[in-house]
């Protein structure tokens, strides 16, 4: 039985509860107060001490080329919270006259996505690890055994999603464990537990996939035609992702590769090409040594 995450980015409100819950449960150190200067995202990326990362993509209305896979649908007929007021906020003085009018900021839409290790079916990190420290555990998750890892760092460039990283003061590689310890005790992972909108849902993958397909169809029926699933039902080299996503923009906008490739698919051909060159050069050298000087 494999468990995983379905992260529905249309439900994400960017509260970062998952980031905090993960840090707290796993006792991960803080990353300092660096400001990235980009959107609301000061976490910036997944790292050895950040196993959940909420990406914030601000799409202003005025932006010419949206990072959308398909054009955004026209605004829904559903009345918004402010009763459809598009002029902004009026501040009235004591006589009831408008004294100040504040326009709404130019926010077309927010795309937020809680990124995490994908626990790939064909995991580049797992196949690359020379010590066998990275294993697939009984819950279908890709798990780094901290007592085995010797910090060679080969898993780091072998992950097609840039997830796993070396912790510099410790030397070993760390990433999301899919809350191995909590799952052992029959609890759902801390991030999914903390998510207030159930944007992150945890469960059996078959259930999750069914729910996700249903959700896409439902969103399309409602007119949100840019919704699609990333990481399941696709022919990619990494196979289905145990943590998959419902996205609205093209994968690149979220920093995800469009068709992730499994690095180890190149091993066989690499050796073949290398040994072919070795054979040619050896035969040539043999002829040189056999020849009369």
């Amino acid at each position: 039985m494999a468990n995983g995450f379905f992260t529905d980015t249309t439900l994400c409100i960017g509260c970062k509860a998952c980031e905090v819950a993960c840090k707290q449960w796993n006792q991960l150190p803080a990353d300092g107060y660096a400001m990235t200067g980009m959107s609301y995202d000061n976490t910036a990326a997944l790292s050895a001490t950040t196993w959940r990362h909420v990406a914030f993509i601000e799409v202003p209305k005025s932006k010419k080329r949206l990072p959308m896979a398909t054009p955004a649908p026209p605004p829904a007929a559903v009345p918004s919270a402010d009763g459809g007021n598009s002029e902004g906020l009026k501040i009235l003085n004591i006589n009831g006259e408008a004294s100040l009018q504040v326009g709404f900021p130019d926010i077309g839409q927010w795309l937020m996505m809680s990124d995490v290790c994908k626990h790939c079916t064909n995991a580049g990190c797992l196949q690359a690890c020379p010590t066998g420290a990275i294993i697939r555990n009984e819950f279908g998750a890709v798990y780094v055994q901290p007592d085995i890892c010797n910090g060679c760092g080969y898993c780091v460039p072998s992950c097609p999603f840039g997830v796993v990283a070396l912790q510099h003061d410790d030397g070993r590689a760390f990433k999301c464990t899919l809350c191995y310890d909590r799952q052992k005790d029959g609890l759902e992972p801390a991030c999914a537990k903390a998510c207030p909108t159930d944007s992150i849902t945890f469960g059996n993958l078959d259930d999750l996939k069914m729910r996700a397909r249903q959700r896409v169809a439902e969103l399309h029926a409602r007119g949100e035609t840019s919704a699609y699933l990333y990481g399941v039902d696709e022919e990619t080299e990494v196979g289905d992702l145990n943590a998959f996503f419902l996205l609205k923009a093209e994968p690149e906008a979220y920093g995800l590769p469009k068709a992730p490739r499994l690095p180890q698919d190149r091993v066989g051909r690499g050796y073949l090409a290398g040994f072919a060159a070795a054979a040619v050069l050896s035969v040539f050298s043999a002829l040189v040594f056999k020849s009369k000087r």
């Binding site: 660096a34 200067g37 980009m38 959107s39 910036a44 990326a45 993509i57 896979a69 020379p130 010590t131 085995i148 890892c149 010797n150 060679c152 760092g153 460039p157 097609p160 999603f161 840039g162 796993v164 030397g171 609890l187 759902e188 849902t201 469960g203 259930d207 729910r211 397909r213 249903q214 896409v216 439902e218 399309h220 029926a221 035609t225 840019s226 699609y228 039902d233 022919e235 990619t236 093209e250 690149e252 906008a253 979220y254 590769p257 469009k258 068709a259 490739r261 690095p263 091993v267 051909r269 690499g270 050796y271 090409a273 290398g274 072919a276 060159a277 070795a278 050069l281 050896s282 050298s285």
Partner: protein, 412 residues
Amino acid sequence: MPGLFSSIITGLSLLPASYEPPGMEKRGGRRKRRGRSVETEFASYYNRPVIKKPHWVWPIWTYFWAGGIAGGASAIATLAHLLGDKEADVSIVRAGRYIGMVGVIVSPVLLIIDLQRPERFHHMLRVLKLRSPLNTGTWILTSLGVLSGLNFARQVVEDGIIPEGSFLGKLALLSSNNATQLLQGVDGLALGTYTGVLLSATAVPLWANANESIAPLFLSSAMSTGAAAISLGRAVGGVEVENLHRLDPIERMAIISELSCLAYGYSKLTPEVRRHVTDGPNARSFLIAIGLGMLGPLLLQLLGPKKGLAGRLTSLLTSLMVLTGGFFLRYATIVAGKESTDDPDACHSITRGPGRASPEEQAQRYSTGHDKPFEAGRSIPEARPNSFEAAVSFEMNAPSSTAGSKPEDQTS
């Protein structure tokens, strides 16, 4: 004083220009993202890197270089031993065995230095994984160490450093023969190859994109640097000049092979990845590798003198040039690869391909076969104590034949 210092630092850090968010720094002070030279229709996430770069620094490229020399020298010494002239080529075998021994002593040290937990080096040898080049390579290096040691011991005895009659001498002669030498040669070729496979089997855009050309490139470079090291050893060791140019054809052939691998690999790069080879300081390193390590020695060997003191000096010079060029080849390949990981355009340029259905296709895939309309909110799970319990209870009709690729998931 500390207070003053920290307030100066704090003040400086508040200056707008002083802050560079991580990952968006200027690239070595040269190319500030002056727009994309190649027009892509893809966005990126605020120009953040898509994948993470390896931490590898000088121990790794030095190891690739030293390991390559050891591997090439082992292979050439083996061929000379098995096929070469029994008198004239002994000096090649001798030099090859000595160089191989030095190489396999230096290489593991460099490899262990590079580990962030060096005391756990032996964990590499607790499994055998053919899909992991680093694991396979550690086994190759270990076995090459043993084999080189055996053949080196025989050489030491043959050179009379340890008397043949002594216990150690007898042991050394007993424990090595033509078979161990043959195995050392094959292992040496494997060592030269695997370093290239190690690089191409990553997600790093440059290495992944150059794909199957890096392994033969590094193997050829191992052969040319191995031959150069042997020639250098012989030139210094006072082999007569007529005999000194024995390995030149091998060196030339290896260099030609290197050049063809470079050209083939370069032709396969996408424009976004190619930038990291042709721009900036890495371009200079690649040029040094090609000019000093390949074209220069090639010309010098073809046009240079072959006799007398000038011949000896030419041989020395070409060997040094090939060795330096080989080092720069490893350095440039690794550094340019590391730099290409910071470039989201380069990452995306090699992961386009097929493999993702458009939203419309997906909508069609998931919505066909539903005869009843969707009820809004049904798919959002109700409050549940624990998502271990199946939160889904709705029925889903079997998809039509045009539907997704995994029908078995939906019928369960």
